[in-house]
Symmetry: C2
Subunit: 201 residues, 2 copies
């Protein structure tokens, strides 16, 4: 329908209709998080995106796997950005701020899109690429946090452990939040994670 990837070529009436590729990606993101990688069929994704199969395989020649990798990369990027672009002074404050944003997302989506990468982890055995994408995702998030913690003055070794723990808490928190259909557990995870970033010894 509408368009523009690098260059615009949108007609004058596409106001609420982004790029087909983007629409497919958004639909996949939504459904993968809601029903898992296997649980979300290509047809479901296509329907939600209002796109035909031809477009999907034009934009993602690698098929479902490529879409999965792209989705993981997008989630990762958005979270890492959240960590890195924050203007808060301490890492603890950064985590609180980012956590707040995530909490809103969770609420906005009726607690459906909570778990982050778990949906893809199970594919590790059948799709190495997806497995690598998830491993990278965790690594990037941890690294971003570790860097901030170190610039707070924390020793590298400790910073890495704390950063890892923060990621675990957020992931686990998102999971329990989804299971219980409530943001409360996630907010608790954020609080715990933030306090891990404060106390430094």
């Amino acid at each position: 329908m509408a368009a523009s990837k690098t260059r615009t070529k949108q007609s004058s009436t596409d106001s609420d209709m982004p790029d087909t590729r983007a629409r497919i990606l958004a639909a996949a993101l939504r459904l993968f998080r809601k029903r898992g990688y296997h649980g979300a069929g290509l047809n479901d994704i296509l329907e939600l995106a209002s796109a035909p199969k031809g477009s999907l395989y034009h934009h993602f020649p690698g098929g479902k796997e490529e879409i999965g990798v792209a989705v993981v990369a997008e989630i990762t990027r958005s979270i890492v950005t959240l960590f890195e672009s924050s203007r808060a002074r301490t890492t603890a404050a950064v985590v609180l701020q980012a956590g707040e944003q995530m909490s809103h997302t969770i609420e906005r989506t009726n607690h459906e899109l909570c778990t982050l990468f778990t949906a893809f982890l199970a594919e590790r055995s059948t799709s190495p690429k997806l497995g690598i994408a998830v491993a990278n995702a965790y690594a990037e998030m941890t690294e971003a946090l570790q860097t901030r913690l170190q610039s707070d003055g924390m020793k590298p070794r400790l910073a890495k452990d704390r950063a890892t723990a923060v990621v675990m808490l957020l992931e686990g928190g998102a999971m329990i939040a989804q299971a219980q259909q409530s943001v409360a557990p996630f907010r608790l995870a954020v609080k715990q994670a933030a306090s891990l970033c404060e106390i430094a010894d």
Copy 2:
């Protein structure tokens, strides 16, 4: 592993061949954890269990969903038992001890069977029963820990929060361990979880 549900009925030669029902359950447990709920097909499970489809639907009339619920219940029970039967004095020690056991399981299974309930969580939208089973699983684990923490003298409110955080860390830790194919992150999670059980203020 062994057999017999209510009454035994084993022939004299089934030494290494438990009850069909148990075999199916064990196979399902293994494959669900490795490939996720959708990723593991009934045929795969049946093949691993060396059982025909008739047996499966005889023992689990509810089909795949019933097997899923049973698997979740079994995992839950084994973990809660780990928490409750420990003779360690403090909850921190209990967590360390249970964590050690889990670490061994992770190593023994080539980091394949790590994530605990995530595989089933995605089914919440299509199968209420599985969703409830997972929610119960988290609730039971948390409750068991909370009880122990309170008997350590911790205030109920705080105990509940700490217990929840411990579960989150373990779940998140298991996930990252699977992603990275290493027990190290899980052991870190256990350490953090244990220290959450100590400091009481």
